[in-house]
Amino acid sequence: MATQLRGTDVVIVGLGAAGGVAAYPLAEAGLDVVGLEAGTWLDRRDFAPDEIRNNYRDWPMLIDKCEQERPTSRATSETTARRVGSHPMMNAVGGTSLHYWAQSWRLNPWDFRVVSETTRRYGRSRVPLGSTVEDWPFGYEELEPFYDRVEREVGVSGQAGNVRGAIDGRGNQFEGARAREFPMPPLRWTAFNERMAEAARAHGWHPFPGPAAINTERYQGRRGCGYHGFCSKGGCPIDAKNATHLTTIPKAVDTGNLRVVTQAHVTTVQVDADGRVTGVNYVSGGTEYFQPAKVVLLASYTYENVRMLLLSKSNAYPDGLANNRGQVGRHYLSHHQGAGVTALFPYDLDAWYGLPAQGVAVDDWADDNFDHTDLDFIGGGNLWAMSDRRPISAAGMSTFGRGRNWGSAWKRFIRENSDRSHYFYIQKTTLPYEDNYLDLDPGVTDPLGLPVIRITGHYKKNELALAAFMQDRAVEWYQKAGATEIVRGGLGNAMGASTHAYGGTRMGDDAETNVVDRWGFSHEAPNLGVLGASVMGTSGARNPTLTAQALSWRTAQHLVESWSDIAE
């Protein structure tokens, strides 16, 4: 029998990138908020610049709960799912925002209106068959004030390209209009970045520095980026990366209205006979607790959000919470960011002291920024020339067909070339489809005996055609910059577990095809909200975190403004 705790207004399950943002406007408004986090507080001493620990031993993703809940994956329902080797989840106050790459993009306005814009420009038949894509219930303009708020509260550096309709050639001319400039200038460019920008301009493209939740100067009492080179899968040892444990969570704690409970492993959401949620059960130190709450906000990773709903079965929701229409787990997609291209240059790139968020972006081939009339796909990709390298992976570089990757000849090769390779991973429009989904694995469980998530999905014709098209653009860019060897990766097949995992609790006005409404609250359980990329119905060609955070802020603000309607 679970120990019953004192009730609270709002319980947030997961204090990561999304929940860590939502906590602040709620606490600031005077609501009593309990934040349940499976992990603990970490600080700068936990973030040694150590490639073995971060990138080979996958610390700190290997901590307890999330490691035990690693999903399984398979390409189609005809095949057997296998447990994925690595996963992007993390348990700590701040969650994945501790170790992410911190690229903080707004979606393009087109991403909110894929169906209507495609239909308007090319005809309805160009929306791929079998895709379940819908327009978002609102446009970019609706989310803009929340993007703006999060960029300031969290701290995002970058170069604006469109301020209230005024185009600035230094930034992204294809972005939606923003109310004002970024609060900080962009990360600096290396000589190689400059060279890539020059090569892009020579193609007639419009290069610009990407946005990042990384300080480039002193901001809110913390210092600017040290460019130490261990940002990928590592926390920041000088607190320059704006993870929520440094930004919105402390601000929420300072109000006196957020209580952070660490090492709390939430197992189920409870409901009453009317189908309203009443709180959550969690296990901590071997004891089970029930935390009553007037409102529950699920804010864990996409796989965990979906899993929690599917595991929370009741008389009111026999197939899982908020799933009486069978939409939980549907409209899932892993962002297609593989199908990359690798190049070898005849000069050093001097990339040892960089970070994945430091680089040159080209959006000329993203979204619907170019005419698709004579093409066999919709959407596009963001080209990204970053500056990021670490020694073990540098030594493990491709030998570009020059023989085996060990021995004396190889040693000579890497001595000359270890700082001369570059890789484009390419983020591309990825659509949801009828037969790509998440459900509970019938055979694999965590130590509590609860099934883990099973990913079923593969990239389809639209994604593969787009991938080939983007590889052509990437090759053109590398050639212009003087690459001597260029190798294309495969175009993609099965969707594995991804750091960019969208859908599963999609947001939309139609309760028959969406789990949450336009505000992020369940169509079925009115006092249950969902935060994170699991509510996003389209991926765009860029990283999801800022959008997930803007949506979280919006959901939280709506809850504050509609408290009596939702909570009572």
Partner: protein, 242 residues
């Protein structure tokens, strides 16, 4: 290639090197004493707001000698020979053995990679069986050239045959050892490898810095940046009591 060729090509330098390893308790790194890094500018750490404390540096600790904890003498001998062929000591400079990759692997098998101990044991035994089966001699008795050809068979998954018995495939064993050898050569010296920064010097990595100024970056681009000789754990922020 037949067995006679193999013995013929077993030149004296290979034999003497192997004997040296045996004498040294198979710890190839033992012969090398790392340079002191005490001279590393404390300004590096101060600049990053993390002043280096005085005291023994982890990276300057002499490479430990003596038998490995997780492998038998015979297993150690085979692994030494393999690691030595992956990143050899040659005219370009020292290789994986001198960098302490063997000691790194042994420590890892006690800690983060303890799940792999069984794979090492069975893989090294299978390597020796395959060597006998295909080349007529134990792996450590083969010439460098023949050792390389055996390792190519392993890497390509072709090391099969009666009773060879790689668990999974020979390729997965090869890749595991290769990955750990790379970590033990090019990773942070904290874990017992990359002794004397052999790996970082080989690829020109200028070292762990917490703060890299615009001027530092320009110096790097002009090939004028002086390498930093320290482990991440030599910075006060991350110092751990051993």
């Amino acid at each position: 290639m037949n067995d006679d060729d193999a013995r013929e090509r077993n030149d004296s330098s290979v034999i003497s090197r192997r004997d040296l390893l045996r004498t040294a308790g198979a710890a190839g790194a033992a012969a090398l004493v790392p340079h002191s890094i005490a001279a590393a500018a404390p300004a590096e750490a101060i600049e990053a707001g993390a002043a280096a404390l005085p005291g023994p540096s982890i990276a300057t600790a002499p490479a430990p000698t003596g038998p490995l904890m997780n492998l038998t003498a015979r297993e150690t001998e085979i692994l030494s020979a393999m690691v030595d062929r992956l990143i050899p000591s040659d005219e370009l400079g020292p290789g994986a053995l001198e960098a302490g990759a063997l000691r790194f692997i042994d420590r890892a098998l006690s800690e983060a990679e303890s799940d792999s101990a069984g794979a090492y044991r069975s893989g090294l035994a299978a390597l020796d069986r395959y060597s006998h089966y295909s080349r007529g001699a134990a792996f450590v008795e083969l010439s460098a050239t023949d050792q390389d050809s055996v390792l190519i068979d392993l890497q390509t998954g072709g090391a099969t045959g009666a009773n060879v018995g790689f668990v999974g495939s020979s390729g997965s064993f090869f890749n595991m050892v290769k990955s750990h050898t790379w970590q033990g050569t090019f990773g942070d010296p904290h874990y017992g490898g990359n002794v004397d920064f052999i790996g970082w010097d080989l690829i020109g990595y200028p070292g762990v810095r917490l703060q890299v100024s615009e001027e530092d970056q320009r110096a790097l681009e002009a090939d004028e940046l002086t390498p930093v000789r320290r482990s991440a754990y030599d910075y006060a922020t991350f110092r751990v009591d051993q």
